[in-house]
């Protein structure tokens, strides 16, 4: 006969294990495990991801090469690669070479955490793609004091010393663009906004609201949508009925097309103001190159304002552009010209500047790199993006926006109208959150 069925009562399992509660946790002496050549040699102190003997520094890049953001992640990865290949080929940073480890998290926070834990003791600096995944590792970054450059422009990054965003927060861009737009005309036009119902959209909305309060234009309607939607008629119809003269679009390119296209079909032709990520070269032509077949929405997008991350491709007005295009042509010729490539290139440049300062200070430990970042001061990005400034006080690295206008007849389709536009509205925004 079988014994009556039971294994240890679940309660007992929990109870027994809690007996160990006599002990407790303490702080780890973090950071110094797992690094190769972590001791000081010569005059430079090493740290995780730094090989002092071989003079190499490893930078991690947790990117989104698959999944919903992969259209943006791929050029970003290419930009990082191109910059460091060019840098190493020209002798590196005072003889130090930089190695890049690129991993794909598919824009999933859980994957991001897993990958982060895999590489955290092997890298000296980190690139992290996207707001949600970066927020998932933010507590870990703070713990590990790992200086991280997010490919994301949430206003909130300015408040965290280990995060080094390279660029102007979304809300600042919107505020600046609206300031610029309203100052072009004499009367106060009605302005509406269409935004994606996520944190990216919310940050854009924050800029819109601040601008509306400060600049005093009339509300032309606030419409939301979900990423992946294909049907926008109702939203557009409402903006049209409200009589919006200008409409801010905080979207990803896959939604920008349908939004602008629907409006055009309904005979609604406002001044479009696109938040940087809403634009992609493929919105204008088949493969994003100048003479390829135009898309059905290309005509409607002509003249739209775009707060771009970076100067137009090959912009002669930006001294840094020449070097960028050269690096692109030599190392990543397969990547079509993209503002994301330029953005990533610029952010790598900031990382190199941080490392250069840390090497100069003789301290490549995590603490040393963090100190270098906080005391870096202004970094000139050669006009590719507005220059950025890092101080111990934190705050956004840049409050200026690069405002461009869509022109399908030029390479990259963006024509700068203001290289570095600032406004009181933007300056009053703070880091939010």
């Amino acid at each position: 006969m079988r014994r009556s069925p039971s294994i240890a009562t679940p309660l007992a399992v929990i109870g027994a294990s809690l007996v160990i509660a006599a002990c407790g946790t303490g702080d780890s002496n973090s950071g110094d495990d797992g690094s190769s050549g972590g001791t000081s040699a010569g005059t430079v102190k090493g740290g995780p991801g730094v090989d002092v003997a071989a003079k190499t520094i490893r930078i991690g890049d947790i990117n989104a090469l698959t999944g919903p953001a992969s259209a943006l992640g791929k050029p970003v990865a290419a930009g990082h690669r191109a910059f460091f290949k060019a840098l190493n080929a020209s002798g590196g940073i005072d003889g130090w070479k930089v190695r890049l480890t690129i991993k794909d998290s598919g824009y999933q926070p859980q994957q991001h955490v897993q990958i982060y834990n895999a590489i955290r003791n092997k890298v000296a600096l980190l690139d992290s793609f996207g707001s949600p995944p970066t927020k998932a590792i933010q507590a870990l970054l703070d713990r590990d004091k790992l200086v991280t450059t997010p490919a994301s422009f949430d206003s909130i990054w300015g408040a965290d010393p280990v995060i080094a965003p390279v660029g102007t927060p979304y809300s600042y861009d919107i505020a600046n663009a609206l300031d610029y737009y309203t100052k072009q005309g004499k009367d106060k036009p009605k302005i509406g906004i269409v935004y994606q119902n996520d944190e990216y959209g919310q940050d854009g909305l924050r800029g819109y609201k601040a601008a509306k309060d400060k600049l005093g234009f009339a509300d032309g309607g606030r419409q939301t949508f979900k990423a992946g939607d294909t049907e926008f008629t109702a939203q557009i119809q409402k903006l049209k009925t409200a009589g919006a003269k200008a409409v801010v679009v905080v979207a990803l390119p896959s939604s920008t097309g349908p939004i602008v296209g629907t409006a055009a079909a309904l005979g609604f032709k406002p001044q479009w103001i696109l938040q940087g990520p809403a634009f992609l070269e493929q919105l204008i032509t088949k493969d994003g190159s100048l003479n390829a077949k135009p898309t059905p929405v290309a005509a409607a997008l002509k003249g739209a304002l775009v707060t771009s991350f970076s100067a137009p491709w090959g912009d002669p007005g930006a001294p840094g552009m020449k070097e960028l295009v050269a690096a692109h042509d030599k190392y990543e010729p397969g990547q079509p010209p993209s503002i994301y490539f330029a953005l990533a290139y610029a952010s790598s440049k900031v990382q190199a500047a941080i490392l250069r300062k840390a090497i100069g200070d003789g301290d490549l430990s995590r603490e040393g790199i963090l100190k270098a970042k906080q005391n870096l001061g202004e970094v000139d990005l050669g006009g590719v993006s507005p220059s950025v400034t890092y101080t111990p006080d934190g705050g956004p690295p840049s409050t200026k926006s690069l405002i461009t206008r869509i022109d399908p007849s030029v390479d990259g389709f963006l024509k700068p109208v203001e290289e570095s536009y600032g406004s009181d509205v933007a300056d009053g925004l703070g880091t939010g959150g």
Partner: protein, 352 residues
């Protein structure tokens, strides 16, 4: 055989973290956390035969309950972890009556709708969930134990870091959940669930209160989903409403099916495959390095992952436990274990 296997498994599970790299331990922790939720779904789908694609909603409710009580009200993890289960269970109890009216794949689709409705609520209940921006989740604090990143537990020569602590906490809760469902399956309620799965109308005639049993199955299932969600949110530390997606539900149901429906070992085995496989595949040496052009490792991983599910279920529809059975039988001992086949009653309707 079984008497050796269980202690051996326990020893293995306890020693495992010390043989893993930080990344592998993270993966293992996520797997065990997910296995708690899968154990719940195994009760609902494996025992009671109710197919739910809504598990992610319950996981999300648990996670947010934990966050609100633990972070916003500063309660102890002794409170917010169980409370997360209770909150999710309450939602499950509310849904049970709806499930009573629906059969088979109709229920699957309605629960699929639940995921979207829950996401809509999460997106709009900004005060609780942070809205679209997402919110931070509290680290577990159990008395003197602090699970925050950077804290370590030193037991003599052994050091356990934050990931390790989460791993062990999840392991203990998983063991408790498994013991609970093991007992359940061998008690009145568990038998009633199996009877319900096989012959709903006949079970009722035999005196099984079909309504109550269904609600019970939903409650147990969503309770464990809630616990799993609380730990998941806490370990992940930050999440946005779209974290609790249909994909997550599909991963859970895939885990219990791949593991072997209605079996004791199924949920853990299935979770190991479903939640660890993608990260393991990515590290295969023959895949091209990320960003080196051509097919990306990420794409290849997804393709392989999908094809593996297809190939696996085509070759062994009874799941991993079915394979274990085959191996055992080919060695010539033991009768096949009692892996039930889930027969969805496909309602035959008359239509005009």
């Amino acid at each position: 055989m079984r008497r050796v296997a269980l202690p051996a498994l326990v020893v293995f599970a306890v020693l495992l973290p010390f043989g893993l790299s930080a990344a592998q331990l993270t993966t293992a922790t996520f797997v065990v956390i997910a296995a708690i939720g899968a154990t719940g779904l195994n009760v609902l789908t494996g025992y009671a035969g109710q197919i739910s694609l809504g598990h992610a909603a319950f996981v999300g409710v648990g996670a947010y309950t934990g966050a609100v009580l633990g972070s916003d009200h500063g309660l102890s993890a002794f409170v917010w972890i169980p409370a997360a289960g209770v909150a999710a269970a309450l939602l499950g109890a509310l849904l049970g009556p709806i499930a009573l009216r629906l059969r088979g794949l109709y229920l699957a689709i309605v629960t699929l709708g639940l995921v979207f409705i829950a996401q809509h609520v999460f997106f709009n209940a900004g005060g609780l969930t942070g809205g679209p921006q997402g919110r931070a989740f509290p680290a577990v604090q159990l008395g003197a134990f602090d699970f925050s990143p950077g804290k370590v537990l030193e037991l003599g020569a052994v050091t356990i870091d934050s990931s390790g602590l989460y791993y062990f906490l999840a392991l203990i809760l998983f063991a408790a959940a498994t013991a609970f469902t093991w007992n359940l399956r061998r008690s009145r309620a568990g038998r009633a669930m199996v009877a319900l799965r096989e012959r709903e109308a006949a079970a009722a005639v035999m005196g099984v209160d079909v309504g109550r049993v269904k609600v019970t199955a939903f409650v147990v299932s969503s309770f464990l989903a809630g616990i799993s969600g609380a730990l998941y949110g806490s370990y992940l530390s930050f999440a946005q409403p779209d974290q609790w997606s249909l994909l997550m539900s599909i991963q859970f149901i895939a885990a219990v099916i791949v593991g072997g429906l209605g079996t004791t070992a199924g949920p853990l085995l299935g979770c190991a495959v479903v939640f660890a496989l993608p990260s393991l595949l990515k590290d295969l040496p023959f895949l091209p390095a990320e960003g080196s052009g051509g097919l990306s490792a990420g794409d290849l991983t997804s393709i392989t992952y999908g094809l593996l599910i297809v190939a696996f279920l085509t070759l062994e529809p009874r799941g991993l436990v079915g394979i274990a059975d085959r191996v055992r039988r080919s060695r010539g001992n033991d009768t096949p274990s009692k892996t039930p086949k889930l027969t969805v009653t496909t309602p035959k309707e008359a239509h005009p």
